[in-house]
Structures are given as structure tokens and as C-alpha cells.
């Protein structure tokens, strides 16, 4: 139902406005269902549909223990508040919906509030959410002060006579506010804490769409609310995007908790989206609305893609957790046999997120590359060099993401089960598989049929940048996606897909020569003469990422601890205990010292309430005398 209304909103292109006035000053429940809102609602609709189908199966396990009613209430409250956030036309209503979304998400993250870890993560989440709400509060107050009324439309008109310093302050406030919500690198610490502890269908929704609320905010305010931002603003967004992408994937590589790995990947993909958005801002500042439109399409298309395949991956991780009861990859393995459907969906998700062709991840990264390339020509001075460098960092991120998902998929699903699994692992219930299935289908459809889907962005582009570039992005009778530049780069995932299938025929023929003569036998893998391979010989997640840990050791500061238990001589150990840990630099260097400083100051301040009445009277006496002396004379 939501999906339908969303598509309706986009295709028309004309904003649908309706509002109810409320008794409270300044708060008008007015909604503006324009193209940008329509697009984000479409993403929300797709995800909400898939997750609710998935939740049928997932929640069966809760039947007795938790009250599902409260869970349902929070779930729909989250969806409702997201819809309002996307369509709010009144700044105050936007803020109210924004915080309700944060509170609903907090309720859901701490749904298992029995274990301390999820409570702590929930608190961290809500405190960071409130900090970013505070920044938005200040930003909106500044804008309302300039424009007089609280409607987004009035911000648009008031943007002209924003002084440059006001515009800069407003930009920083909004970037800080939306950045924290989107989980950008310096403010990301709540994301890998909160998403893994939430129930899987919720962390899917959190990573999929709640992070995108930050992106929506940036798009709405930067492109629509603050007028034309100076180029340094776009470059800042770009640099932060690159930082988040690279560091996000590097931290993801070191994780061996499946859901934390996916949470770090959300940071990486948000970084990629920000690269697109930053490029769009820089082009707009440099006066190339055409290129800005392409970059914006890249960013928004990647938002949609990331929402879909991240949600798919989280649902997959959820069904693994549902069946095996653990998220630690070191104890998983060999799940492809008992859970073939989940494995296949997870594989499609992994291929899509690593940006490998025929799927949708590749298409949006391709568009980002094209806009970065075009950036070289369009911008002047040193910034020209920045764009291709960002492109190479994007490539590094893509390749590292591929490495990370090879590890995630292989260690979880392939070869022999590592942990001593007591109960036999069963396939996820049918509804969960169906939930994942439709998302997989969405990935494939978006990947192959991208050219039909691009027209969706025309209305949005026209509204935000006044450009309709959809047409010249599609050439070659509707199959080929082009970069919008004559003789520019072109790619067609549809033809690549068909090519792959067609070339499969000669390969199958070649193989059939051999298989017709001899039956393929199944034998034990080569074990260098040892008495048979057991699961202990298999590669573990830590081992897989060891090479990268050594190469990037300057970032990780890895700490290694080996204790060998031996009785006769150290060279014949009975058991070796190996423990390696990567240092959480951001937490250790930045957040923990800040917190300690604050608490130490607070405990010292408690001395002023030390209980002696003489001290209390002295405070009043001193204030009285000071005021008498200084207050009167002036």
C-alpha cells in the first residue's frame, strides 16, 4: 500500500501538499509529498514489505517469551515516523518525527533488554541520536530565524539572503546532525554497537532505511534548503565519504561477528553514497547542473541498492542466527547444505554489495565512477586531482568489500561446520526464505533492468537541480546505460548477463566431453598424507584476514597473545591458546577519554553540595554582596 502511494508521488512529479493546523504555534502538520520524498518512501515500502514477511517466521520464536504486541507497536511506530520524516514539510514536525523514529529504534534495539550489552548499545544509540537532534534543532532554529516561518518552502525562498557565515554555520550543524544519524566515520561508534544486538529483522530495517533518513536530510537541506553551497562544503562531504568508505570496510574485515561485520559495511556504503552526494554538491557549486544530476542519481540509486542488499544480508544473518543461535563466524561453517536457500540469497547479497557486475551494486558504483571521472574535467585547481583519487579509493573499498564478503560467505556457509553444533541445523522457516527471496529478486531486477528504472529519478532531479537527465542516460534502444557524456563510457548489465549465459553453452559442451566418458567421483580432499581432513584444518575468519591485518597494522595496532600449554618441553605444546584483537581506535582515542574527563569534572563539582548549611548561606551571601556592589553602580 505504501509502495503504491510512493510510486504515485514520484511519477506525477508534482508535489502533493496537505496540512492540518494544530493548536500549537508554529507546528503545522503539513506534508509535502514531492519526488524526493516519494523516492525514499518507495525504498521504505520495499523494505517494510520484505521485512514484515520475514518477521512472520522470525517472531514465531518469540511467541511465549516476549509480548509481540509491544514489538509490533514499536515496529509500526518506526515505519510511521519514517514516513512522516520523509514527507514532513514543516521543520518542527520533521524534528518531532525524527526523535520519535530515534525513540522507536531505541525501544527496538533494547528489545532484549535482559543482556547488559544491548542495554548499553541502546543507550549509546539514543544519546548519539539526541546529540544529532540537538544539532538539527539549532540548525532549524537558525533557518527559521532567517526565513520567518517553519516551512521548508520558506527556507528555499529565504536561502538567497542567508549570509555566507550563516550558511556555513547552518551547513556544519546540519552535516553534523545528519552525519551522526547516517553513521559517518568519526561519529559511527553507535552503529556497530546497536545493529548487532537488535533483533535481526529490526537491524535489517535500521541499516536499510533508518540510516537513509540522514541521507534524506542531507539531500533535502543541502540541495533544497540552503541555496547553492560553496564548493568547500561539497569537498568536505566527499572527503568524509571517502574516509567512511575506506575505514568502514577496513574495520569490517577484522570482524568475526556476522552482524557487526554487516554494520561496519553499512558505514562503508554510506561513505560511497556521500561520495556521490559530495560530487553533486561540488558540481552544483562549479555550475555544472548536468553532472550534478548524474552524481545525484548515482548517490540516490546507491541508497536504494544499499537499502535492498544490506537488508537482504541482515535477514540472511538473522536466519543463520535463528537456526544456529550464534553470530560468531568461527563457530559456523558448512551451512550451505542444511540451508541452501539462505545461502543462495546471502551469496546474491554478497555479490551485489561487492559491486560485481550484472547486479545493482555494480551499476550504482559505475555511475559514481563516471561522475568522479567527469569531475576531473569540470572542477579547477587542486580539486581536479581529488576526484580520481576518490575514484581509486572507491576501487580499494570495492575490492576490500569483495575480500570481506568472500570471508563472510565462505567461513559461514562453505566447507565443514566448525563449532560443535549440538542441535541439527534446520533451514529457516518458509516465510523468512520468501522475505529474502523477494529482496534477491529486487537485486537482480534492479541490476539487469536499470535503464527502465532510471526515469524514477527524473522528477527528483528536476525538483532539486532543475535538470532532467534521465533521457540521455539511456541509449542503445533502451538497453545501455551511458554516462551522459557524448562518446562517454557505456555499460549494459542486461547484455553482460545475456553474454554470460550464452558463453556458458560452449563451456558446458567442453566439460561434457570429459564427464560423458568417466563418472565424476567424490573423494577426500588432498590432506598431504595426514589421517583425513577435519574441520580444524579449515581456514578461520581471523586467519583469512591476517594478511590484511599485517598490511594495515598501522591502523589496527593488532595485539596478539599466544599461550602454549605444554608439559615436557615448549616445542611439544599440548594446547595453544591464540587470541588476537584489533584496537578500536576511535573509541579508545576519542570517546572514552572524553567521557572520563566529563565524569571526573562532574564528581569534582559535587563538592559544592557538601551538606554544611554555612557553606550554602555563604554562597547566597557572596552573591548578594557582589550584586550589591556591581549591580547598583552600573
Amino acid at each position: 500500500m505504501e509502495g503504491l502511494s510512493a510510486v504515485l508521488g514520484i511519477l506525477q512529479g508534482t508535489p502533493v501538499r496537505w496540512s492540518i493546523s494544530s493548536g500549537i504555534p508554529l507546528v503545522a502538520y503539513s506534508f509535502d509529498y514531492d519526488a524526493l520524498a516519494g523516492f525514499f518512501n518507495l525504498t521504505l515500502a520495499i523494505l517494510a514489505g520484505a521485512v514484515s514477511i520475514y518477521s512472520f517466521g522470525y517472531l514465531k520464536e518469540f511467541e511465549g517469551k516476549r509480548n509481540i504486541g509491544f514489538f509490533g507497536f514499536l515496529f509500526h511506530l518506526l515505519l510511521l515516523s519514517l514516513t512522516i520524516v520523509f514527507t514532513a514539510a514543516n521543520a518542527l514536525l520533521f524534528l518531532i518525527a525524527w526523535e520519535v523514529m530515534a525513540l522507536a529504534a531505541y525501544g527496538l534495539v533494547t528489545f532484549y533488554h535482559e543482556d547488559r550489552e544491548s542495554r548499553r548499545a541502546g543507550l549509546l544509540y539514543i544519546v548519539m541520536a539526541h546529540i544529532d537532534a540537538g544539532c538539527l534543532l539549532l540548525g532549524f532554529a537558525l533557518l527559521i530565524q532567517v526565513s520567518g516561518s517553519a516551512d521548508f518552502a520558506s527556507f528555499r525562498t529565504a536561502a538567497e539572503h542567508l549570509s555566507s557565515s550563516q550558511q556555513a554555520v547552518a551547513f556544519v550543524l546540519f552535516f553534523l546532525g545528519f552525519g551522526i544519524k547516517a553513521g559517518v566515520i568519526p561519529f559511527h561508534i553507535w552503529l556497530p554497537a546497536a545493529h548487532p544486538v537488535a533483533p535481526s529483522n529490526i537491524s535489517a530495517l535500521l541499516s536499510g532505511i533508518v540510516l537513509k533518513a540522514g541521507i534524506y536530510g542531507m539531500a533535502r537541506i543541502f540541495l533544497d534548503g540552503l541555496g547553492v553551497l560553496p564548493s568547500w562544503a561539497g569537498l568536505l562531504v566527499l572527503i568524509v565519504g571517502v574516509g567512511s568508505a575506506v575505514l568502514g570496510v577496513l574495520y569490517a574485515l577484522m570482524e568475526h561477528d556476522l552482524k557487526r561485520l554487516l554494520a561496519y559495511h553499512s558505514i562503508e556504503n554510506i561513505g560511497i553514497i556521500l561520495i556521490g552526494l559530495g560530487a553533486a554538491l561540488v558540481f552544483r557549486a562549479a555550475g555544472h547542473p548536468q553532472l550534478a544530476a548524474v552524481a545525484l542519481i548515482a548517490a540516490m540509486f546507491h541508497t536504494l541498492n544499499h537499502a535492498i542488499f544490506k537488508c537482504l544480508l541482515f535477514l540472511g544473518a538473522g536466519s543463520v542466527l535463528h537456526s544456529t543461535g550464534t553470530r560468531n563466524m568461527e563457530e559456523l561453517g558448512g551451512l550451505i547444505r542444511p540451508m541452501p536457500a539462505t545461502a543462495f540469497c546471502f551469496l546474491i547479497g554478497a555479490v551485489a554489495i561487492s559491486g560485481l557486475p550484472p547486479l545493482n551494486g555494480f551499476v550504482s558504483e559505475w555511475l559514481t565512477y563516471q561522475s568522479l571521472l567527469a569531475g576531473f574535467g569540470a572542477t579547477g585547481g587542486l580539486t581536479r586531482i581529488l576526484f580520481p583519487l576518490a575514484g581509486s579509493m572507491l576501487a580499494l573499498t570495492g575490492a576490500l568489500a569483495a575480500a570481506c564478503f568472500v570471508k563472510a560467505f565462505a567461513i559461514t556457509f562453505l566447507a565443514l561446520p566448525r563449532g560443535a553444533k549440538s542441535s541439527p541445523v534446520h533451514e529457516a522457516p518458509r516465510s523468512m526464505v520468501v522475505g529474502m527471496g523477494c529482496l534477491t529478486a529486487a537485486c537482480l531486477a534492479l541490476g539487469l533492468g536499470v535503464t527502465w528504472f532510471l526515469r524514477v529519478f527524473d522528477a527528483m532531479n528536476e525538483q532539486l537541480l532543475g535538470q532532467r537527465v534521465g533521457a540521455n542516460l539511456i541509449t542503445g534502444n533502451g538497453f545501455v546505460l551511458s554516462a551522459g557524456v557524448p562518446h562517454g563510457g557505456t555499460v549494459s548489465t542486461a547484455v553482460i548477463g545475456i553474454g554470460l549465459l550464452v558463453l556458458l553453452i560452449p563451456a558446458v559442451l567442453l566439460v561434457s566431453i570429459g564427464t560423458r566418458r568417466f563418472a565424476t567421483r567424490r573423494g577426500p580432499a588432498w590432506d598431504c598424507g595426514l589421517p583425513g581432513l577435519t574441520e580444524d584444518n579449515e581456514y578461520t575468519a581471523t586467519a583469512f584476514s591476517k594478511a590484511l591485518r599485517m598490511i594495515f597494522s598501522v591502523l589496527y595496532q593488532p595485539r596478539r597473545e599466544i599461550q602454549a600449554v605444554f608439559d615436557v618441553s615448549p616445542y611439544f605444546p599440548k594446547a595453544i591458546h591464540f587470541e588476537s584483537e584489533v584496537e578500536p581506535t576511535f573509541e579508545k582515542r576519542l570517546y572514552v577519554p572524553l567521557k572520563d574527563l566529563l565524569l571526573r569534572f562532574a564528581t569534582r563539582m559535587r563538592a559544592i553540595q557538601a551538606g554544611s548549611i554555612h557553606a550554602y548561606l555563604a554562597y547566597i551571601f557572596v552573591t548578594l554582596v557582589l550584586l550589591l556592589l556591581f549591580g547598583v553602580r552600573r
Binding site: H113, I126, H130, I144, R606, A615, Y616, L628, G631
Partner: protein, 500 residues
Amino acid sequence: MILLWLLIVPLAAGPLAFFLRRRQLMEVVNLFAFAVLLCLAAALGVRVLRSGPVSVWDGFFYADALSALVVLLSAFVALVCSIYAVGYFRHDERSGVFQEGEDLGGGRAINKLREYYALTPLFVFSMILVALANNLGILWVAIEGTTLASVFLVMFYGRETSLEAAWKYAIIGGVGLSMALFGTILTYYSAHQALGTDTLAGLNWSALVGNASQFDKPTMRLAFILILLGYGTKAGIAPMHTWKPDAYSEAPIPGAAMLAAGVLNCALYGLVRFYILSSKCLGPELASHLLILFGLLSMGVAVPFILVQKNFRRMLAYSSIDHSGIMVLALGFGGPLGVLGMLLHMTFHSITKPLLFFCAGNVQQQLKTDLFREAKGGLIHSMPLSGGAFLMATLAVTGAPPFSLFLSEFTILRAGFSRGYLVLPVLFVTFLVAIFSGFLIHIANLVLGPDPGIPAAETCRWKKSSVVGSALVIIVMGFWIPAPLFRLIQGAVDIVVSGR
């Protein structure tokens, strides 16, 4: 005539309850009196809206929109607290809390109840008198009345700590009020110069406000400083706030709630009256600089104490210090927006704060402690209703958006920006966020968590009805404000801004 009835009802209820001796009768009298009071207050509000200021006995009692608002809020708080008090004291009686005070000479349990049910109406009477008194001297006498009535409330349990709290409350309150008296005298002196009359009207608010501009400037400056310190002590603003944590953690919950929501409004009402006089006479600079300074100081003082608090009763006190700071800051920002923000905040705060006290009361009575350490958390399992309400009230009080306090804080923020300040609003928001985080972290650890195995304890009808009732009012207020209430607030804003 409504004014007289508003005063007679609580005045009569006090002694009546004192002589009735039996608990059920006293409770009925108390509830009935405050219910009637609320209806009268509402009628007064409507009357003031329709036909402007109401006065009786040639101006001795005078009620304009501002005083009608304060009367309405005091009546609402009194009613909600009295409903809760019924359940609260029944639980106290059952769990033998009074015996503990007896060996310290506190008197038998039934005497305690008689003391409470006699004093609370007198306490409410003096709060109503504050709002209705036209003569600033009588205003001072009324506030002194609230102090004296509430000293016994703080001393209610008769434990050593409650004696200490009562002594500090009485002494600091006495000093504060003497400064306020000195300010009133000086105001009368500066008015005396201009008016020259010796009659009773010399101190009447309606007479003074008309020609406030010809008052004697330096006297009025000194008078405003003294009034700010005096009534600031009663409101609990920063350097004079030290009595609040002790008083609130020792008084019985209904008493503490009335102190927090009722006396705070009266003290600020007094401060606003003098603010109008001084801004008409001296121009707004002096008043706004001082008010902003004290407002931010109180919010600043509240932050560290909330962050590292060990006792949730005292944390409520610091939260009310923070809110008095916010209101004073709003008044300091001034202008139509600032005053609107302050009055909205006063209204929403008086509605939200009692619920917070009720939940804290339920938790304290159930766990027999008010320390976070001893309450092992997981309250949601044994007390789902008050645990959930506690969490919701925390979000409401700290100004989380879906609730109404966010709207008033946003208006205050806009007022700050409209005055051209930039650093102050940023400081204001940082304090708000810090207090939100401190508050929520403590309460979340208290309410959520594994099931400690305490037997379910939500039994008393009265307590549950008051918690649910005020929770509903808070939620509704978040989205819709009744039009007459909002017109009343706007009327009060006109009075403060234009000083009619």
C-alpha cells in the same frame, strides 16, 4: 465572587480535615476540596478570558490572565497530588514507615495523617493567595505562608535527615524571603516617590504598573536585584538552590510534587510581576542580563549532579533546578517569544513533573530505597506500569520531541536566536542534551534489565489511576493544546510584554 470562593474552599478544608480524625473522611474532604478548586480555577480562567481582569474588595484581590494561569496550574497539581496521596499514605501506613519517626518524637501515625491533611489545604490556600493578591506585600506574606506550611511537610517523617532538610529549608527560605521583603520595601519606596500616596493602594500591582516609568531608577535597580535573589531562592535558582535536593528527597512524594510544581510557579509568578515593573522602569537590559546569567548558571549546576547522581529522588530535584533555570533564561531572552516560551514551559512542566514524582514514589515504596545501587534494575518486570511511565516521564521532562516540553524549549531557542545571541542558544542546547543523556542512562538502567524476582506490586487503585491519568494528559498535550488554555497563555504573554 469566584476569587473569594477560590480562597475559602482550601481555607475551610484544612481545619475541617484536622477535626475529622478518621482517615477515609479526611481523604474525601481533601479530594473534594481540590476537585472543587480546579473547577473554580477553570471558571476563573474562562471569566478572565471573557471579561478581562477580575477584582473584588476594591482591588485587594485581583486576577488577570497571568494569575488565572498560575491558579489553574496550582489547582491541577494539587488535585493530581491529592489523588496520589491517598494511595501513597495507605501504603506508608501498611509498611509502617511512620513508626520509624515515632521514636524520634514524631507522634502516632494518625496524627501524621491529620497533620498532612490539615497542612496541605493551607499550603494550597497560600499558593492561590500568591496568585490573587494584588498588593505586593500580601504576595510576600503568601509566599512566606507557603514556606511555613511546607516546612512541616519536609519534616513529615521526623527522621534525622528530614529534620536536617527542614532546618536548611527553613533557614535558607527565611533568608531568601527577607531579601525579597527588602526588595518589596524598596519598590514601595521608589513608587512612594512618584505616587506620594500613603493609602493601601500604594503597593497595589494594578496601581503601580500604570506609572512604573516614573519610579526612582537606582532604587528600582537595587529592588529588582534583591527580588531576584529573594524569589530566586524560593524558585531554586543556581546559587540559592542548595536546599532543594535535601527538601525534595525528604518530603513525602505528594508534598514534594506540590513543592516542585506549585511553589516554583508561585515564586516565578512573583519574579515576573517585579520583572514587568523593572523593565518598564529601567528598560530590559539589566533584568535580561541578570536573568540569563542566573538561568544558564542553574542549568550548568544541574548538569554535573544529574550525570553522577546516586539517588533518583535527588535527581528529580536537580531536574527541577534545571527547569527553573530554563524558565528564568526564557524570561531573560524576553520579547513576545521568550515570554511565550517561559509560560508554555511553566504550563507543560507543571503537568509533567508530578508524574515523574509519582513513579519515583512507587519505585521507592516498592524497593524501600531511593539509591540506584540498591535498586538492581529490571523494574519493568515487577512494576510494568510505573516502570514504563517512569521512562516516558523521563523522556517528557527532558524535552524529547514527541512531548510538549520540546515545543516550549524550541520557542525559547527561537527567542534566543531572535535576540541575536548565537553562543547562548548553543550552550542551552548542550546543557539540554547532557541532562537528557544523564537522566535517561540512570533511569534506563533502573527500569530495564534482567528480572530481579521482586513480586509484582501494582496493586493500589489510587496510585495507578493518578499515574495513568497524568500520563494521558502529557501524551495528549504533546499534539494538541486546548484552545482556551492557549488563549489564556497568550493573554498572560500580553500582560508581561506590554505590562498592562
